[in-house]
């Protein structure tokens, strides 16, 4: 990471990239970008570039891993070696294994897994370029890919992080804010139900600051939700 900037938030509340504290980076979502996958989506959030694919419901091998009453959800979050400043060694590390587990658990509440017994629904997220907030961007993209695959869902899952930077609670921290900020709060939710499906936090916050970050991240999710729906409408009509 380059030298720490002198201050991350200007006196008038403007951030390094010119955003206001409660402003998302530019977001672009496109549904159905891959031919072979059953569903897919491409997402850009700031300079994050994420592609998600869904295969399934499909037969699960080995068979002893099948669940007689529901589908098994599998999620793989993977960072391309060229996606970060220093080349990332290919393959899963502890961070990506944890993110994969939590992302799966973030999406599962939205799925009717009981509709597809004995099957697997495989979700693959590839981070092509990373600029903080990739786990949330991955969940947002994967959720659109699930809908694109025609899998029935209670709601889309939208995700974004909030953070504490120079004592301010901000939405969608970018690279420097994530690296030099005081806390990071990634959150995913089903906006229709106002229900949190992923929540993490690391850093240092008072209980009230943490609540404020959760509130701000939820607000961000609602904006992302609108873009997810727009992306699906662009592909399937309705807009």
């Amino acid at each position: 990471m380059a030298e720490e900037p002198e201050r991350l938030i200007a006196e008038d509340g403007t951030r390094l990239d010119g955003r206001k504290p409660d402003e998302l980076r530019p977001l672009r979502i496109q549904a159905g970008v891959l031919k072979r996958a059953d569903g897919s989506a491409y997402l850009e959030l700031g300079s994050n570039k994420i592609i998600a694919a869904v295969y399934g419901p499909r037969e699960l091998h080995p068979r002893h891993k099948q669940k007689p009453d529901r589908a098994v959800i599998r999620f793989r979050y993977n960072m391309a070696p060229f996606s970060v400043d220093e080349r990332k060694r290919p393959g899963p590390d502890r961070r990506s294994i944890e993110i994969s587990k939590l992302s799966k658990e973030a999406l599962e509440p939205a799925l009717f897994t009981e509709y597809y017994p004995r099957t697997a629904i495989d979700i693959f997220v590839e981070v092509l370029q990373a600029d903080a907030g990739t786990r949330c961007a991955g969940i947002t993209a994967a959720s659109v890919a699930l809908a694109d695959a025609g899998i029935e869902m209670k709601d889309l899952v939208a995700a974004v992080a909030a953070g504490k930077v120079d004592g301010h609670i901000v939405l969608d921290p970018m690279y420097y804010e994530d690296g030099y900020g005081e806390a990071d709060v990634p959150l995913a939710m089903m906006p229709k139900y106002d229900a949190i499906t992923l929540l993490q936090m690391d850093g240092n916050m008072t209980e009230d600051e943490f609540k404020e970050a959760v509130r701000l991240a939820k607000k961000g999710c609602k904006i992302i939700y609108r873009e997810q729906r727009r992306a699906l409408k662009r592909k399937y009509g309705g807009e």
């Binding site: 502890r94 658990e105 106002d194 949190i196 690391d202 609540k211």
Partner: protein, 271 residues
């Protein structure tokens, strides 16, 4: 989770749930009540610090080992911390031998963040020669008996082991580090992070879920606080969701409860 446990869960689920609906827990505890906590430190003399934790029937050992290593390039003036958890097969019929699975990795990373983000260890004190040599603190969590809430038990054990750990003195000559094993100083430990895990079962939230409750819970939230009461790590886990009311209740319950648990663990270490 194996099929056996799925079946057991279905049978038990009814009992656990019907009790919770009437405001009772399967083991008679209040919703905001932990199981008895027992922490014994210095149980492994080969380790630089260690602790045995019993949280009800959950049992685990944490060992702290110090090794001289190289600082990370981005923190040349600091020692390093590595937390690892092993869910060994003797602790649960579903645990399997082999490299840590996603559950073990999640557990160790949640404990790691609790220690790291509370800045409990003064890592700068563990630098030996800037950019060249430092102490690497290995925290190894060894689960012996899994009866639920490994998260809180693991952090209690790690904190107890670290708070009582000793760092050997060193002599540096011509860039060689010589460790003097029989001269030690206490590990620079300056905070006391405690996590409280809250399970959400239907519309109810309760602390310190035992295994039977973990099997039926929809989701859990682990909140780690530092000594000041600030939040330093949070982790929602499992496949359910937290609606606003459950989230707020869980957060408040966890923050409030952590003060009492911190006192309990501290008292156990001192006795």
């Amino acid at each position: 989770m194996s099929l056996d446990l799925d079946l057991l869960a279905k049978i038990k689920r009814h009992e656990v749930l019907s009790m919770i609906r009437t405001g009772e827990r399967i083991d008679g505890r209040d919703f905001d009540e932990f199981r008895p906590i027992e922490v014994r430190t210095g149980v492994i003399s080969k380790a630089n610090g260690s602790a045995l934790v019993r949280l009800g029937n959950t049992q685990l050992v944490v060992g702290v080992k110090l090794e001289v290593g190289t600082p990370f390039p981005d923190t040349p003036d600091q020692g390093a911390l590595a937390v690892n958890a092993e869910l060994v097969p003797l602790a649960d019929p579903t645990f399997e031998p082999g490299p840590p699975d996603e559950n073990a990795i999640e557990l160790s990373r949640v404990v790691d963040r609790g220690i790291r983000e509370s800045e409990a260890i003064d890592l700068e004190e563990l630098c030996i020669v800037e950019g060249e040599h430092c102490w690497v603190v290995f925290v190894d969590i060894h689960v012996l008996d899994h009866d639920g809430n490994l998260f809180d038990a693991s952090l209690m054990g790690s904190v107890a082991a670290l708070a009582t750990a000793e760092v050997p003195e060193v002599e540096v000559e011509d860039d060689e580090v010589e460790v003097i094993e029989d001269e030690t100083r206490p590990l620079p430990f300056r905070d006391f992070p405690i996590s409280v895990t809250v399970a959400k079962i239907e519309d109810h939230v309760l602390v310190d879920p035992c295994l039977e409750e973990e099997i039926v819970m929809d989701a859990r939230m682990t909140v780690t606080t530092n000594e000041r009461g600030d939040v330093c790590a949070v982790q929602k886990g499992d496949k359910g969701e937290f609606p606003p009311k459950a989230f707020e209740e869980a957060l408040e319950m966890a923050v409030k409860k952590s003060k009492e648990i911190r006192r309990t663990v501290k008292a156990q270490i001192e006795s």
